[in-house]
Symmetry: C2
Subunit: 196 residues, 2 copies
Amino acid sequence: MASRQPLPATAYAILGLLSFGRELTGYELKQWADDSLRFFYTAPAMSQIYTELERLHDAGLVLDRVVQDGNRTIRSYRLSARGAAALRTWAAETRPEPPVLKHHLALRLFLGHLVEPERLVEQVRAHRTWLEHMLTELADVRDDLAHDDPDTWRYARLVAAWGRRYYESEAAAMDELLAELSLLPVSRSLENLPGS
Amino acid sequence: MASRQPLPATAYAILGLLSFGRELTGYELKQWADDSLRFFYTAPAMSQIYTELERLHDAGLVLDRVVQDGNRTIRSYRLSARGAAALRTWAAETRPEPPVLKHHLALRLFLGHLVEPERLVEQVRAHRTWLEHMLTELADVRDDLAHDDPDTWRYARLVAAWGRRYYESEAAAMDELLAELSLLPVSRSLENLPGS
DNA sequence: ATGGGCATGTAACGAGTTACATGATTTT
DNA sequence: AAAATCATGTAACTCGTTACATGCCCAT
């Protein structure tokens, strides 16, 4: 029990996963986060999930059930009534913050004058490959969602569709970038830095 | 002097800004970060810029110059030869990490069953408005870049072009999302949560 | 019997934030 | 005279990570 203070976004993400109605262990939550949140939100580390679950439990927003499975202890969590209320209030009444983007490749591009153009091209291509990888994994998710209850996973499917567009657009942007980079005249700015 | 250990990405971002050759104060770096990094990388807080500058100075990667301007002290920083070398090594030899995305709106969409559809639509629309705002600000940046030395800002212009596509694609995705949301049958899942 | 997956947790740490505190200079 | 901008910095804190530590269960 206690503290109505605003929780970290990750706490709401975990409550959100629990709002699908299943009773889950920390381990299972981590797996699910890796299969869903990962694509549009960072999947929290295992240890943070446990930390967050404890906090949520202390606040009375989740209920736990301790199962003595032979010799080891397994704790499963489910949403409490208060947790569901807090979650709904959060979802309805707080406005989503703007997305947080740390685009390391864009930073490299911004600082393109630091490397030979071929290096940059390599890095853009590597990023492109990564995007393709994400797209195939997303496709797997979409396949799974197609098999399951259409009502429950309605919004998950919308996010998956959004994600597909998102990553595809990024991949197309990388292709355009590669075209633009190939047109760039040889830079002389490498020599303008201190120490050369 | 000291420590060849890997610096946080933000330190390299600051070194990167200094690699454009100007001598800058912490305050000026913050302003510039807000006008550039902001669009593809989080602009660090003022206090962190000072922290990072001190770290970089201790490591001998930047040189400072203390100007006694009347009564107050102003510290300007410029890249040292070692800093330039460290920066170039980083840019050429370490591969950029995948982008970090925390898309709060996507999380809300994923948890769409928690709110009335109209709420969701409002939030998507608000996000769309924010994207438009970012686009107009980016357009201002592009105008500025068009006036300045084309050689120096070559890569900055590429990033700005990338950013424009990025935010435009997001805006288009929001429009598609709104269309899809309007087709969605009324959900009954609001009633399936604990406590209702 | 060994390796991988299931399962839980702690400790140390680091990046980055907000809030606080101060004061000069410039513009209105 | 007041407000905005320039300018620097500290303190407290929190989110979140990696590394560590443990041990069960199941398949090969």
